[in-house]
C-alpha cells in the first residue's frame, strides 16, 4: 500500500525525523481560509499516489498572498497521470542549501534491505541511475545484522559530509528510516530530497512510503494510514470481498481461480485478438459468494461485453463454482453472455449444474478464450 506524502510525513514526525511545518487541505476554500498572512513563502503540493508530480505542475511555490487563489484553483481538481488531485499539502518555504536522495527498500533480488544514497537529490532515482550511476551508492544490509558503523562511513564518504553536527543529524535520520522499515514492514521508505537548509538543519522535504500489504494486519494503530485512493471503486469493492481485481480497458471480463492462470487467461485473450477487461482471481476457496461478488463487480464495468470463466478445480470444487454461477444468474439478472471453462475436482457435477442453465461450456482453456473473443467480434 502506498502512502501519501502527508501520511508518510506524519510517520516521519512520529519517528522524530524533521519535516517542514505544514497542513493538509481537502478543499480550496479551507486552505484559503486557514492560511496566515505572514508565513510566505509557502509551497502547495498536490497529493497523488504517483510519481512525476513536479513535472506535471503539481507543486507551486507561492511567494505572496495575491498568488494563493490562482495557485490553489489550479491545483485542486488537476489531473496527474489519471489521478485527480483532491488533497493539497501546504508547507513553509525553506532555504535549501543542498539536496540528497536517501531510501531503504526491501530488495527481492539481493534479498537484503538496500539503502540507496545520492548527493544529487531532487531527481527521480531511476533517471539518476541511468544518467549518472556513479552518483549512487547502494548498500545491501542484512536484516539479521542491521546498520553498522561501516554503512555510515560509506554514506559520509559518498555524500562528502564532514561537518560533525550534520553527520549526527544524518546518522539519526538513517537509523530512524531503517527502524521504520523493520517496525512497519515497509517495502520502501524514500526521502527525496532530504535537504540541508539554512542553519545547518537536515530535513525531509518529501516522503514516499510503500507498506507491505501482508504486514498491515500486524501493525497496531495503523488504521489512520490505510487508504485505497489509488483503487477504482470496483477494485475497492473487490478488495473488501477478498478478490484480487485489477481493472483494464478491454471488453472481455475474466473470472479465474489463481493469479498465474488469471494472467495467462488475459494473455491468451490478447493472443487470439481480444482485449481483457480485467484481472480477477477468486482464489482457492469454493465459497459461492465469491463468484457472486465477482459477477457483481464485472457487471458494473460497462465495457464488459462477455464474461469468461476459467476454473481449474484443485482445492476449488467445480460444483461449488457452478452453484455460485447458478445463484448469481438468478439474483443478478445477467444479460451479458457467459463462456465457461470448468475442469478438475468434481467437474462432472459442476457441468451438470451448468447444463441446466443453458450456458456455453468449453472443454479447454483455449476453446473458451477463442469463443469469448469470437463473441466480441459479432
Amino acid at each position: 500500500m502506498k502512502l501519501y506524502e502527508f501520511q508518510g510525513k506524519r510517520l516521519f514526525a512520529k519517528y522524530l525525523i524533521p519535516i517542514p511545518k505544514g497542513k493538509i487541505f481537502y478543499s480550496k476554500d479551507d486552505a484559503f481560509k486557514m492560511i496566515d498572512q505572514d508565513i510566505f513563502p509557502i509551497v502547495a503540493k498536490a497529493q497523488v499516489l504517483v510519481g512525476g508530480r513536479g513535472k506535471a505542475g503539481g507543486v507551486k511555490l507561492i511567494k505572496q498572498v495575491s498568488e494563493i487563489e490562482s495557485a490553489l484553483e489550479n491545483l485542486f481538481g488537476m489531473d496527474i497521470k489519471g489521478y485527480k488531485v483532491e488533497k493539497v499539502l501546504i508547507e513553509e518555504g525553506l532555504n535549501i542549501e543542498q539536496e540528497f536522495y536517501l531510501s531503504f527498500m526491501l530488495n527481492r533480488n539481493s534479498e537484503k534491505i538496500t539503502m540507496i544514497t545520492s548527493s544529487q537529490g531532487g531527481t527521480e532515482i531511476e533517471i539518476l541511475a541511468e544518467e549518472n550511476p556513479e552518483a549512487i551508492l547502494k548498500l545491501d544490509i542484512d536484516p539479521l545484522i542491521g546498520l553498522k558503523n561501516h554503512h555510515f562511513v560509506k554514506f559520509f564518504e559518498k555524500t562528502k559530509i564532514k561537518d560533525r553536527n550534520l553527520k549526527n543529524q544524518f546518522r539519526y535520520i538513517i537509523k530512524k528510516m531503517y527502524q521504520m522499515v523493520i517496525e512497519l514492514s515497509l517495502n520502501l521508505v524514500e526521502i527525496n530530497p532530504l535537504a540541508i537548509i539554512k542553519g545547518n538543519r537536515v530535513i525531509a522535504l518529501d516522503s514516499k512510503i510503500v507498506v507491505d500489504d501482508n504486514g498491515i494486519p500486524f501493525l497496531s494503530d495503523f488504521d489512520s494510514f490505510i487508504n485505497y485512493d489509488d483503487l477504482t471503486s470496483e477494485e475497492l469493492d473487490a478488495k473488501k470481498a477478498g478478490l484480487s481485481y485489477v481493472q483494464l480497458n478491454g471488453n472481455i471480463g475474466c473470472i479465474v481461480n489463481g493469479a498465474g492462470l488469471a494472467m495467462t487467461t488475459m494473455d491468451m485473450i490478447k493472443y487470439f485478438g481480444g482485449e481483457p477487461a480485467n484481472f480477477l482471481d477468486v482464489g482457492g476457496s469454493s465459497n459461492p459468494d465469491k463468484v457472486i461478488n465477482a459477477l457483481k463487480i464485472l457487471k458494473r464495468d460497462k465495457n464488459v461485453k462477455v464474461i469468461l470463466f476459467n476454473i481449474f478445480g484443485g482445492i476449488t470444487r467445480c460444483d461449488d463454482i457452478a452453484n455460485g454461477i447458478k445463484i448469481a444468474m438468478e439474483k443478478l439478472e445477467i444479460s451479458i453472455p457467459i463462456v465457461i471453462r470448468l475442469t478438475g475436482t468434481n467437474e462432472k457435477e459442476g457441468v451438470k449444474i451448468l447444463n441446466s442453465l443453458n450456458l456455453d461450456i468449453a472443454t479447454s482453456m483455449q476453446e473458451a478464450v477463442k469463443k469469448a473473443v469470437s463473441m466480441i467480434g459479432d
Binding site: 507491505d212 488469471a262 482457492g284 479447454s364
Partner: protein, 284 residues
C-alpha cells in the same frame, strides 16, 4: 528419481487441526505420502486423519524422526512455525500459507543461508513427486510419473500445464510450486540445480511471471550449465505496470520485470518459450 520428496520421506503437518490442514492431510495420505504426525499448539493429544497431534515440533520429534514439514498455519503464526521448524533442524519446509510479511521471510532467508535447509513457499501449492508422495495442495490425479521436472511460481497455472503434459503422455519426476511471494524460500535457481543433477529428469518446464529477476538468473544458469531441454512459459504479458496481479510478487517494478523482457532474455539464452500453455508438451 524425484527431487526433495519420495514415498519414504517422513512428513509432518504444522497446523494439522485447521480446516485446510486437516483436509489436505487426508489428501496427502490418500496419495501415499508418509504423513507421520501433526502439530498444533494447545491441541496435543488428539488425532487427525488417524495421526497423532503434538503441541510442538520438539514434542513430536521425541517420538518420530522427521524429514519434512508442511505448514498450513494461519499468517499470524506462520512465520513462527517456520522458525520452529528451522530450530528443530527439519531439512525440508513447505509453506502453503499466504500472507506472511516479506520482511519476516527476508530474515528467514538470510538465516538459513549456508545451512542445509530447503524452504519451499510461502504462498505456494507445494510439491508432488508423482506416484510417490505430495506435500501441499497440488491435485494428485492430474500428475503422472515420468521424466520432466516442473518448477512454477503459480498454482492453478501449474495444474493447467501439468495436466497438459499428462494428457500428452508426458510424466513428471517432481512438480514444485515455489510460490507467488516476492521473497520465497527457494527460487528457480536452487530447483534448477536439483533437477539438473537428477539423472531421471530429462527435461524441465519453468513457469514464470512478471516481477523480480528470478527468470533472468535462471536463464543465465541454464545457458551455462543445463544440457537438458528447458521449456519456459511467462505469464502476465498483458499486465499493467505497478499493479499487483494477485500474487504479492507479481508486480512490475522496473522495465526488466515485464513478461516481454523476461521472454526476450530467455530466448537470447537459447531457451524455448511457449506462447500458450498448451504448446509446452509439443516441445518435448
Amino acid at each position: 528419481m524425484s527431487i526433495l520428496l519420495n514415498k519414504d520421506t517422513n512428513v509432518i503437518i504444522q497446523g494439522i487441526t485447521g480446516r485446510d490442514g486437516g483436509f489436505h492431510t487426508k489428501m496427502m495420505i490418500e496419495y501415499g505420502t508418509k504423513v507421520i504426525a501433526g502439530v498444533t499448539p494447545g491441541k496435543g493429544g488428539i488425532e487427525v486423519a488417524g495421526k497423532p497431534v503434538f503441541n510442538s515440533v520438539s514434542d513430536l520429534k521425541k517420538e518420530f524422526s522427521v524429514d519434512a514439514t508442511t505448514i498450513f498455519v494461519p499468517p499470524k503464526f506462520a512465520a513462527d512455525a517456520i522458525w520452529e521448524a528451522i530450530d528443530e533442524e527439519i531439512k525440508l519446509i513447505v509453506v502453503i500459507t499466504e500472507g506472511i510479511p516479506a520482511l519476516e521471510m527476508l530474515k528467514i532467508k538470510n538465516y538459513i543461508k549456508g545451512k542445509n535447509i530447503t524452504i519451499i513457499g510461502p504462498n505456494c501449492p507445494g510439491l508432488i513427486s508423482p506416484g510417490e508422495a505430495k506435500m501441499g495442495i497440488l491435485p494428485g490425479n492430474i500428475c503422472k510419473k515420468g521424466n520432466i521436472g516442473v518448477i512454477s511460481r503459480s498454482g492453478t497455472l501449474t495444474y493447467e500445464v501439468v495436466y497438459g503434459l499428462t494428457t500428452a503422455g508426458i510424466g513428471q519426476t517432481t512438480v514444485v510450486g515455489i510460490g507467488g511471494d516476492p521473497i520465497i524460500g527457494s527460487r528457480f535457481l536452487k530447483l534448477l540445480k536439483m533437477f539438473n543433477a537428477d539423472e531421471e529428469t530429462e527435461g524441465i518446464v519453468l513457469i514464470g511471471e512478471i516481477g523480480g529477476n528470478d527468470e533472468i538468473i535462471a536463464a543465465d544458469y541454464i545457458k551455462e550449465n543445463v544440457k537438458k531441454p528447458v521449456i519456459a512459459f511467462i505469464a502476465g504479458k498483458t499486465a499493467p505496470k505497478g499493479k499487483r496481479m494477485g500474487h504479492a510478487g507479481a508486480i512490475i517494478s522496473g522495465k526488466n520485470e515485464t513478461a516481454q523482457a523476461k521472454i526476450e532474455y530467455l530466448e537470447k539464452a537459447g531457451i524455448k518459450v511457449a506462447n500458450l500453455p498448451q504448446d509446452i508438451p509439443g516441445f518435448f
